[in-house]
């Protein structure tokens, strides 16, 4: 029992810290690229910014409008939060430092990540607000469309690694000598990253939030701690999807040429560094790219990413059988 409690505690701490690191990175990236003085200079060179942010949201009043569907409205952030935190369970920091090395790790991650959609949809509907409903509908359309390429991109990796366990996939990459992104899954990696950005609902895929047209999309009516949960979940999701991408495609906790006997020591550092590099790319994209239009978004998913990922699976399967 204590074992389970420790693991749950570890999950909560890892998820929160991941989110805080990425909040700092996003805000500092923004201030660096756009010359915003706040997060660059205020308090310890701007690093205590997220702490101030959390304190601000916690002490704000938790406003629930009168017309909303109360139980649905109140519980919507919970679905999003649970789906993000549960994802942290399967990502291995080293061969032994993993909360649960499931035989079906990849499949578990994909299944759990699809749960957040329900939270977003119900939040949009229960707010009794046109902007929220539009945001919720856009989010649903987007998340359904981009879940498919996300799953199909991973299938290539699973075929190449012959296992669904995330530790097994990393071990296979160590055996190969090069990460899968070099060893034939470059297309899969690109599809995964694009689809993952859409799943996080970040720029250029942030139509569900779209400040300029929908106020704040499905989050419009939320305030205080419930808004904070949505807000922090975005960064948790960003952190964990980057970590999963590093594990699946970039060799996870191992870098070629480093001795495998020491993997338990350098594993966590290596994985978090890779995650941070991917995260930095996402931050740079966010603060330099415009938003897609809704039809462009759907076209990209159904007409380009899904066919490309199907071809990727076919080619990977042929290579697997042929060579």
């Amino acid at each position: 029992m204590t074992d389970v409690l420790i693991k749950v505690g570890f999950l909560a701490i890892a998820a929160l810290n991941g989110a805080v690191i990425f909040t700092i990175m996003d805000v500092k990236g923004a201030s660096w690229m756009q010359r915003r003085p706040g997060p660059l200079h205020v308090g310890l060179r701007g690093f205590i910014f997220p702490l101030a942010e959390i304190l601000k949201f916690v002490q704000k009043e938790d406003i629930i409008p009168t017309e909303v569907d109360r139980p649905v409205f109140k519980w919507a952030p919970a679905y999003v939060m649970v789906s993000c935190v549960a994802l942290f369970a399967v990502v291995p920091l080293s061969p032994t430092l993993v909360v649960a090395d499931l035989e079906l790790g990849v499949f578990f991650a994909l299944a759990i990540s699809s749960l957040g959609t329900i939270g977003v949809l119900t939040a949009g509907w229960s707010s009794a607000n046109k902007y929220s409903l539009m945001g919720g509908l856009r989010a649903a359309g987007q998340l359904i469309a981009y879940e498919l390429p996300l799953i199909l991109a991973v299938v290539g990796v699973v075929i190449q690694a012959e296992t669904m366990s995330l530790v097994g996939i990393v071990e296979k990459q160590i055996e190969w000598g090069v990460p899968f992104v070099v060893g034939g899954q470059i297309v899969g990696f690109l599809i995964f990253m694009v689809a993952a950005t859409a799943e996080m609902m970040r720029v250029p895929f942030d139509m569900p939030i779209g400040e300029s047209e929908l106020t704040m999309g499905f989050m419009t009516e939320y305030s205080g701690i419930r808004f904070l949960i949505f807000y922090i979940s975005e960064y948790m999701n960003m952190f964990i999807l980057c970590a999963i991408a590093s594990t699946l495609f970039l060799g996870g906790y191992h870098v070629p040429l480093l001795p495998t006997e020491w993997v338990n020591f350098y594993g966590p550092v290596v994985l978090i560094t890779k995650t941070a590099i991917l995260g930095f790319i996402l931050v740079a994209v966010r603060w330099s790219q415009p938003r897609f239009r809704e039809d462009q978004l759907q076209n990209l998913a159904w007409k380009i990413l899904i066919p490309a990922s199907l071809i990727n699976i076919l080619v990977t399967a042929i290579m697997k059988v042929g060579f």
């Binding site: 649905v72 035989e103 499949f107 299944a111 699809s114 959609t117 949009g124 919720g136 649903a140 998340l143």
Partner: protein
């Protein structure tokens, strides 16, 4: 009683209560959300039976895709906040109960008599065995199901898109 059994019965109790709520609530969205919990608890039951793959398929396909599409469809057409009196259909309650009861007894009869306590999977991981059985012994039904799905897909498109819709798009 072992802790495993206690957990199983607890999950079953919750499952029945959420399933009853799906059909008794008079709010479409509440029904859909109760269905999410029903399916999640069913998935927990499959986990307790150590068939992880089926449990995760339930989460990925039914909760992640089917229910989301349900919600999407309901919201885009009609979903008033609050209660919807039309959802209470008292006339058919008895008929519904009779059908539900007969299906329950039929399934229990088949499952109990068909296997008689026989252990089907004896060794290896259940996922691997499931994959092998699906692509060897049951390959024809498996392929047939995909054709049924394809037919349903084409049927859906032809029903939803009449000629006017196509003309409209050309004009745009």
């Amino acid at each position: 009683m072992e802790i495993f059994e206690i957990v199983t019965y607890f999950v079953l109790l919750l499952l029945v209560s959420t399933a009853v709520r799906v059909v008794t609530t008079s709010n479409v969205i509440h029904a859909a959300i109760s269905l999410v919990f029903t399916l999640a608890l069913t998935s927990v039951l499959f986990l307790l039976l150590s068939t992880e793959f089926v449990a995760l398929v339930l989460v990925l396909v039914y909760i992640g895709a089917v229910i989301v599409l349900f919600l999407f469809g309901i919201m885009i057409t009609r979903a008033p906040l609050g209660k919807n009196a039309e959802l209470d259909n008292d006339k058919n309650k008895k008929l519904g109960a009779a059908i539900a009861g007969s299906i329950f007894f039929l399934f229990s009869y088949i499952l109990v008599n068909g296997f008689e306590g026989e252990v089907v999977i004896t060794s290896g991981s259940s996922t691997e065995l499931l994959g092998e059985i699906l692509l060897s012994r049951f390959v024809f039904p498996f392929e047939l199901v995909s054709f049924v799905l394809l037919a349903a897909l084409i049927g859906g498109i032809t029903l939803a898109r009449k000629d006017e819709a196509l003309i409209d798009e050309d004009q745009v």
